[in-house]
Structure formats: C-alpha cells, structure tokens
Amino acid sequence: MSVLHGVRVIELASERIAFAGKLLGDMGADVILLEPVQGEPSRSYPPFVDDQPGDNRSLYFLHYNTSKRSVILDLDTKPGRAAFKKLIATSDILLESEPIDRLSALNLDYDDLIKFQPSLIHVAVTPYGRSEVLSDLPVTDLTLMASAGPPWSCGYDDHSLPPVRGWGQQGYHTGCHYAFMSILTALLHRNGSGQGQFIDISMTAALNVTTEAGTYAWLVSGATVQRQTGRHAAVKPTGESQIRCADGRYVNTGVPPRFPEEFEKLLAWFKQIGLADDFPETVFLEMGATWEGPFDLSKIGEDEAITAIFSAGRQALIMIAQAISAYDFFIGCQNAGLSVGIIYSPEEAFEDEHFKARGFPVEVVHDDLERTVTYPGAPYQLPASPWSISRRAPHLGEHTHEVLAQL
C-alpha cells in the first residue's frame, strides 16, 4: 500500500496537467480523470501501439494516464454538476487547468466547493495563473517555454541558428512538478491542521524559475547569458565540453579536473592510452597532480598557473575522447573519478544495464491489447511506500458507472 492510498484526486482532463495526475496515481492516490463525452484530445496523439491509430492506442495517452480511472462527466449539464459536487464531497484534491472563469461561472470554484468538502485542496495550473487573462490564450509546450526562458539559453554557438526547445513536453512537466510538490506540501499541512486551501500555479512562472544562471546572472549582476553548443549558456564564452568520439557518438566532458587526485588519475590514464607524449601541455597535468593547497577555480583567468593547469585538463580530456569510443570514454573517465557522461538517446539509456539493475523498466498488463507492455518506472525508490503503476490508462468512461454508483 503506497503513501497516497486513500487520497482521492479529481483531475479535470487536460494535457497540461496529466503528468501531475500520473505522479499522484503512481504513488497510490485514487485519481479520477473527468473527461468530456468525446474524450480528452490527447487520446488521439501519436505515437500509436503498432503504429495503428485507434481507440486506446495512443502511447502518449497511455503513458500520462497510468494509475487513473476515467469518468465521463459534463459540467455544462445540471446532473453533471450535481454529480461533480457529490464527487468532490468524497475527494481530497481537485486538479484542474480550466479557463480562469469557467468554474466560478458554473458555481463550482473553490469557494463553492468547500461547502461540500471543507478540507479540499484545489490546485489550478494555468499558463499565467488564475489572475491573468493571458492564461486563456492558446498555448503549447513550445510557446510556453519560449516566453519563460529555457530556449534563450539553449542552442548553438552559431546564433544564426534558432534557439532550441528540448523535446518531451518538459514545459508541461515543470508545471506538473510544482503542482505535485504543492499538493504534498498542502497534504502535510492538512495532516496537522485539518485545513485545505486553494493553490494557484503559473506554468510560465514555473519555467521562469527553472533556468538556473539564465535568471540569476541577471538578478545578481545584471548580466545576460548567451547560448553555446552543448554546454551551459554563459555571460563570457566558455570552452567546449561536448566532444564527438571516435565512434561518432558524443560525450559531455563535464567539469574538467580540479583536484590533484583527479589530475593524477587523468595523467595515468592519458599515459596508458599513449597520448601523453603527443601533448605539449602534459607538464601542466603534472603540476595539477602535485598541486598543494586549495585549487581556487575563481582565479581562472587571473592566476596564470591555475588557468594553464585547468585548460590542460580540459584539452587532455578532448584528446582522449577523440581517440576512443563514447562508451569507453564514459567508463574510463568515471573510473578515474571524473564526472563525464555519454550522450545516450532515451532508448539507449533504457537498455543500459545500470537502469535494468535498478529495476527501472516495469511491466504493465494490458488486458485490452492482450500483452504486457514495458513502461518507464520509478523516478524515486521509497521502500516503505513504493511507486507503482497500479493500472493501465483507462478507456474513456471505463469507470463512470462504478464511481458514480458509489455516490
């Protein structure tokens, strides 16, 4: 039995918040997805099972709606509203992304609903928050991200190429992460006080505070970061850290060595591969390996020795990367204590022995497809209250009768 067992969530279906509902459901909450009679539009998003479009074949919908039940309910009808109020009376959380005035126009906003459930936690996730009319304009993951900062920091050294938005609905994800954190915070508060509350979340604000130095370089020192290929956007250009290896795949060379023991191991490996003699700056690696006292990174650019040693470490890593395969570079560097990474495609990571050993891939029985499907698994491992997919994504209205009959 997981930690949110006994917590009932009403989710008014919207692709913007589906992930928050999944985070809740996979930790044991009873998530009831309320859909219009024609179904949530993301039921028809590709990709599809066996590339065949059709009912209950959208892999997009299947992923974002695990551990939920589906009920058809039309809030525009009187019986629909009556059932909704009864449902709220049995619920702990309302999760929605409706147009900002819709629920109040239906007399179903927070102030109305607490008459039926005084300790309700009502979470509204909208593009700009409940008080902004902009929230009712159409948006997509791409346009939200553009407004809120991430693409400004992301792209290439060549600024004639457009800024880049990363794939995977990460803009929606970020709003949903804040929704889930907010709900957990409100539940901890309710446990002690018995009180619920209304929580207003802005998706663009969530992305605005998820841009690291893009934001705080401006807040602190009035400086603007500029995007660079495969590495952090920065106020002053930094050295490249993404290298194409001998097998054509890329690695991220990470933070170059900065401690004597790291220089020592790098030097040993460098010699072992047979590159040390071809590198005029090996002497600086040796200096790094025998450095005494703090190696103060803030003195790069000021202190000549520190600058030369740091730069030699970076150059040595690049030379090694170009001489061997990406995987060998990743394993070799990590064994030398250096934080570097192979740039995997998602499926390559999924197939890596490490994630298999951690039990990341999980099997979900699809009675409807007459097969078992392997899903991405737990983002965190809580042994006393485990994450799990309790059921496959629901068919449209699959649980209408069983849920409404209980009211």
Binding site: M27, V49, G129, E132, P138, L142, T143, M145, A146, S147, P151, S153, C154, P162, V164, R165, G166, W167, G168, Q169, Q170, H177, L184, T185, A186, L188, H189, Q195, F198, S202, T204, A205, N208, E212, G214, Y216, L219, S221, A223, T224, Q228, T229, Q242, N252, Q334, L338, S339, G341, I342, I343, Y344, P346, A357, F360, P361, P376, P379, Y380, P383, S385
Partner: protein, 417 residues
Amino acid sequence: MAGALSHIRICDFTGQLAGAGATKWLAAFGAEVIRIEDPVKEGRWDILRATPPFVDDRRGVDFGGGFNNHNTDKKGITLNLRTDKGKQILTEIIKKSDAVTENFAAGVLEKWGFGYADLKRIKADIVYVSNCGFGHNGPYSSFKTWGPIVQAISGLTFSSGLPGQPPAGWGYSYMDHTGGYYMAMAIMLALLERDNSGRGQWVDLACTDAGLSLNGPALLDWTVNQRPMRQSEGIDSNRSQFAPMAPHGIYPCSGEDEWIAIACRDDQEWLKLTEVMENNQQTSPRTSWCRDYDEMKYRLDHQDELDKKLAGWTRQQEKFSLQEDLRQARIPVGAVQKPQERIDQDPTTAKAGLWPTITHSKMGQVRVDGMPVQFSRTPWQMNHGGPCLGEHTEQVLTELLHKSPDEVAQLKEEGVI
C-alpha cells in the same frame, strides 16, 4: 505566520542545486533547514559558495550568487565531522530532526558513520533522502555526475537539437533544478508515510532515474514499436514530437538574435496566421504560396519549405508586436524572451512576486528566484539570503542543543565548529 511545514526540521547536507533546490522549497514553506558544512574546507564542497555571479567586487565563500539563490531562509552551521565531538553534536541534531538530506556521491555519509543504519539507531523514524546521479545501487553507483551529465545519460541532451547539428542539450542544468524537485517530492512523500504509519525510510533517489522517466512516450514507442529516437535524419526538437502541428518552430524576427515561437494546431489557426501575414504585409493579398499549405497533412509533409517561407516573413516583424498580433488572432505564440525581458519587462512575472528581494547578511539586498505558486492559506515566504559560513552555529548550538556560551567557545577553540 506559521508555514505549511513549520513543524518540520531538516538536518541538511545538500548543496549545489540538485540538493539545495529541494530544501529551498521546504524552507520557503517554513521548515527549519539546518545546513551542516565543513569548517576545514570552508563549505567549498558546494562550489557555488564562491563562484559567480557576484553582486560586487567581493569574493569568497560568502559571496556566490547561485548559492544565495538556492539557500534562502536556511540556517548554516559548521561542524568538523573528523572529530568525535563533531559527530556527537551531529547525533544530537539528528535526534531532533525529522529528515536527513544529502546529495553527496554515493556512500560518503556512511563513511562518516552516518549511513541509514546509524541514522535509524539515533532516531528510529528518521527520514533519510540521498540524492546522487546514479543512486546507491546498480553498476554505476560509484560514478559522479552533475546536471549536464545527468541530462546526457538520461536522453534529455540527445533529444534537444536541430537536424544536421550535434545535440544542443539544455544550456543549463535542467536536471539539477528537476532533480531538486524530485528530491523535495521524495522528502515530503516519506514524511507523509511517517504521518501515516510512524515509519521512516531511506529514499535512494537517482537523478538519472528521474531524468529517464521524463521521456515517457518516446520510451513506449521504443518498447512497443521498437522505434529508436536515434535515427539517421537527426531530430528537430523545435517541431512537435506528439500532437501533429505545423508550422511549429522558432522563427527569426527583426533585430539581432530576436526570435519567436509559433504553433498552429489545426487548419483554422493556419488560416488565421495567413490573415495576419496578409495584414502585416500590406503589399500583396494572401500570397499564393500560403494556399498550398492549407491542409495539415501537406504542411506536415513540407515543413522544411514552410519554415523557410514563414521565416522570410517573420524576419521583417518586430518580436513583441508580432506576438501581440498573433495573440489577438488566438494563435499559440511566444516571443523568445531574454532574461531582462522576462524578469524586468514582463508584467506577469513581477505581478506574481516571482523575484523577491531578500536580505543577505553580507551581500545586502538581492533578488532571487521565488516560487511560482500561490497558496491561499499558507503562502511561501522568502526573507533571508543563503547563510554565510557558520552564520548560525552559535544560535543552533545554544537554542536547539542548549549548549552554554562557554561550551561553544570551547568547541570553537578545539576546531569542532
């Protein structure tokens, strides 16, 4: 005013962003977060303590701008855990804490004598959340990471880029922010479990697990359809990965490095877009090339040329006035905002109180990232900057552990604090 988490105390070893970001959330909602740092190395394990940006010419462990941003309203104490007395004091703090949190490399805390078995002996229902790149189990558990490495491993770097180019990655540590979010979730989930059952637990959080879980539909496309994301034609992540939308991209505007994101979800939005083009062009009626693209399927099949033609038009438009025109027409649009534009010129972020000014004991008044949420009953608060090294050592030792000023002075002399 009491916050939602005012009843919670965290014994906090986190740093950087992936850890510190988690306890920043808890502190904003009233939790008492006590950061434990090493006096010998001046807390430099958290490299952000002494790295840019800086508010002025002052440098050192109390002046890192990122550190201040990620550690608002936390207390900071120094404790030398190489000494027995230091370990004793830590034990006393753990006894009075609800959770112990850290994002060291796997096994570091255990080496100091404070692994989960030790923590449980000190306080039976303690919540322990460790956060490291690969977790404490699995073949790579001894490997080290930071944000960009997590992104590289978990597929997120690969899936951000343009065709014919190397991966663009994220340009910042998306997975340090997001790893921090998952850590905050893990801490709160475990505290809720303790409320339910009285049991504590150790949550072994791996940022790469969290990162990999953010590729859901692409992974199902792999497991069900055997379709890999690594394909010879490369990827264009400015295009729509799921719902069919075209045009869907980031297009140039007039001026230097000015861009706008535009998406058309259906034929109606495309028709409205062509009307805006017609109005803005003033020279020609709806151009014949537009008519070729009136059907979504055609637009999807000819995105390269469509993007080129659309860019030819957007290039002549001013970014914010085009955004206004497209908003009026109810077409999904977003100007690519620079930091100064979204922070100082976008009224929506200021109105939401997203950039609170806090007071740092040495830096003075500094703006920081706030929280993008408004709670009606227990709002978040941010008042104080990140703690200077050892700023609250004396306070915590006297107020929480009831040490006398003489004892504190003695500990200082012995190099324990």
